[in-house]
């Protein structure tokens, strides 16, 4: 079997996952998209394991690890989502903007409001 088929599929799946992470608002949907991306990676791992006939079976072993970690991740992720929902009654990712730079931008670094007014 050509390597190209599974690898291309993995690339496309990954891109779909990227789109989902970037475009979806619901945190749970974002988690699902992340799963898609993880699976794309898994596919690659398996493909190359088979292609290279790895004696350590590292591709498959790592795939198993990834699956386990993904399970843990989803568990933790959902816990966090629940916490957020409990605190804010919303899990829309683009509304969590506590990191935003809030005060109005100043023209000169370190300039106080009074000075700016005076300069005008």
């Amino acid at each position: 079997m050509h390597v190209v088929y599974p690898v291309v599929l993995a690339a496309l799946l990954f891109s779909v996952g990227v789109y989902g992470v970037l475009a979806r608002r619901n945190a749970i949907l974002v988690l699902m998209s992340v799963e898609l991306m993880l699976n794309a990676v898994n596919l690659n791992l398996v493909t190359f394991d088979a292609w290279l006939k790895d004696t350590l079976a590292s591709g498959q072993a790592l795939t198993l690890f990834v699956i386990a970690i993904a399970a843990a991740e989803v568990g933790l992720g959902l816990a966090i989502v629940l916490l957020v929902f409990r605190n804010r009654s919303s899990i829309a990712v683009d509304q969590l903007r506590d990191l935003a730079d809030r005060d109005a931008p100043s023209a000169v670094p370190g300039e106080t409001v009074a000075e700016r007014e005076a300069a005008r």
């Binding site: 690339a11 779909v16 988690l31 898609l36 795939t63 966090i80």
Partner: protein
């Protein structure tokens, strides 16, 4: 085109199509169900690549556990069961551009890199439970054990996060 390829292509198409539906559907529950389809199709792909054990683990853990968890999450966040209009953020166009860019780049590179490579699947025993299990416990013991610690930690973490009575005791007024 070999027989395996003939099977692989439609399976891949199913996986891809259902994953696209996952990220585009306007119903939350359906997204989870389409995810099941996509992951199942992928398990089929793993089988075609002679990764038998991985395929079964995929079905068991992903389809069996992860998706169920996700469904629980959907329910616990009181998401609407039917259509909802605001599942996509305003970032959609930029996301599409980036995603298409990623796809284009990756596909170009991958096709360019592996145009002639082909997989010799051999007798198909490379991915059996026996072979993989021997590999795991012969060469991957330490990571395996570490992973179990990680799982434990994740478990504890999830509990701590989701239980109300062991959260931060005094809530400051600063939060909204």
């Amino acid at each position: 085109m070999t027989g395996a390829e003939l099977v692989f292509v439609p399976l891949g198409a199913v996986a891809l199509g259902s994953s696209v539906l996952v990220v585009t559907t306007d119903q939350l529950v359906r997204a989870a169900l389409w995810l099941v389809v996509a992951l199942g199709a992928l398990a089929g792909c793993f089988l075609l690549l002679a990764a038998e054990l991985v395929a079964w683990v995929q079905v068991l853990i992903y389809v069996g556990a992860v998706v169920v968890l996700l469904l629980f999450g959907i329910m616990l966040t009181r998401a609407p069961i039917g259509r909802s209009v605001d599942l996509d953020s305003g970032n959609r166009v930029a996301a599409l551009v980036v995603a298409l860019g990623t796809a284009g780049t990756l596909v170009t590179v991958v096709v360019g890199g592996f145009r002639t490579a082909s997989i010799d699947l051999g007798d198909g025993s490379a991915g059996s439970a026996g072979t993989v299990g021997a590999g795991l416990f012969r060469y991957w013991v330490l990571p395996f054990e570490l992973l179990s610690v990680l799982l434990l930690a994740a478990l504890v973490g999830a509990i701590v996060l989701s239980r109300r009575d062991i959260g931060p005791r005094a809530r400051d007024g600063g939060e909204d």
